[in-house]
Symmetry: C2
Subunit: 329 residues, 2 copies
Amino acid sequence: MKRKENAPTMKDVAREAGVALGTVSKVFNSIPVGEDYRRRVEEAARKLGYQVNSYARGLKTNKTCSAALILPDITTPFFSALAQAVCQELSARRYKTILSLTAFDPQAEQRCIQMVQQNKVDGIIGLTYNPELKVDPNLPYVSIDRHFSRDVPCVASDNFGGGQLAAEKLLELGCTRPLFLRSWAEVPGETDKRWDGFASVWRQRGIDCACLQLNDAEGLAPFRDFLSSHMDGGRLAFDGIFCVTDALAVRIRAMLEELGPRVPEDVQLIGFDGTRRFAGEGFYCSTIVQPITRLAETSVDLLLQEDRSSLPSLVCLPVQYAPGGTTRE
Amino acid sequence: MKRKENAPTMKDVAREAGVALGTVSKVFNSIPVGEDYRRRVEEAARKLGYQVNSYARGLKTNKTCSAALILPDITTPFFSALAQAVCQELSARRYKTILSLTAFDPQAEQRCIQMVQQNKVDGIIGLTYNPELKVDPNLPYVSIDRHFSRDVPCVASDNFGGGQLAAEKLLELGCTRPLFLRSWAEVPGETDKRWDGFASVWRQRGIDCACLQLNDAEGLAPFRDFLSSHMDGGRLAFDGIFCVTDALAVRIRAMLEELGPRVPEDVQLIGFDGTRRFAGEGFYCSTIVQPITRLAETSVDLLLQEDRSSLPSLVCLPVQYAPGGTTRE
DNA sequence: TTGTAAGCGTTATCAC
DNA sequence: GTGATAACGCTTACAA
């Protein structure tokens, strides 16, 4: 797989145009140059099919106009929407996106970091789980959803507020027997706060809130067991369930409909993420919507910030509630 | 956003290790070198935190170990699965992926091509719609799902075979009044063959096959009109529908359930793509599954093929049928 | 084997 | 405003 051996270079353009090398460079950097010179250079470049070699340029300028995006996965609706938003945002600022997938593997995460560092990206936006990730402290880094350290800015949705919002909605919709369900507990992170926020509201009202949090590996069976053990004469002990993600909510809904209780007539369900099936379609379920576009914008903003001495260490973005058929309204 | 001004270079490592520059280079290229030299160099590199600058390397070697992936979008389940597979496959071969999103905009497609050409990627894998896309003929290019020209290899699913398969399944499941539905007709491409294949089977059996193909902009309303105008006393004129994508099938299903006919009891539905809601979950609907992983592998294979003189101009990969709840079995 | 030096395609600093 | 020329960090003959 050999690339063109003799792609035209600035030197060729200079020769063709009969001007000096420096002049050609100036033309391609929008530095003032005599009008007829510019014309000659542009003509020659077009004729030769010349393209700037941004590698050579980067070597000189120490800037590559590229950023790495490190994500566990891109098929999960939330991650894919995030990837799309970040990629678009970078592109809008004329940055290329180098995409690295880690499959939640801490070692792969470290390898990705290495790789993109060698590639001299101008910065990294990462959603990673390795608590002891080593990254060049001189390379701008923005962490999404995970808190790293004081000097690595983290941008996340307002997970605590989202949890509160879910509880308030459920209250408003008449629920009095709440349940919180969570799976795939990862390293301690921003996501924990969804439960904290949810629980705080019920506590304040003096209402007991049930809760089942499962570890990664346990699968979904325990949820089914839990639910069916809380059925009494075809009636579920809960009338409002908050699931830590839309993905979980969808599965729980399926379980419930199998078990008997109807959604949303007998039990209402709220998820978290606000992902959609297909672009332009509705939500999977009633949900707390993460501001994915703003998440992306903010991350890129922070990443490209010239002055890195006074960055916030955490930016929390507001979430919204959206009905999606699993609540009564 | 300034990168570290004084990242250690080979020169620094050489000085630190007390060896010549060339020796350091050899160590990092696994070229034999005295054992104690190697050790000294490695030690020095670790101490300084040295990282190869792959830009400088690429400048010299004319190889960047990176490929561009150009896609319309990454939130659509099919595209996101494809992106993930391609990215993983490239990564397995130590290639970086530069992701460019075009939003189906022919001009954006051209801009992406420009951009990645300037970045001197080693090749491009593109799923594009611009029929007159200009790409450097010396740059390896593989087109997914669209046929370009004789000298640009295209890899696609066996769309014709998939159409046949859908028809055969429907027949096998007892359907006798088939309908084909398609939306978002793009430029003529591989996708057209789904209908060709589907139709051919019915024609062969002497069965009439109804068909409604809509243009991009018309939206979904005409489908609803069509369906309801083909209802007679609560009964639909069709008992088997083949939709050009899963996305369409899901929407049609929703329409049908609103209109009256039950899926799959009264009418069976087959989609195309084989995408899933969440990783590890079932399909959206009964469907013809595209071999996404093989699509990705093949594309990367072809892209990285050293000998570009004898590449196939089209590789068709086999599809499979998978039940997903919208057919009776 | 190890060291030296000439580029790779740019940009940037100068004199002109 | 223009044109040589020296880097940038690396690979690679080729000389030692």
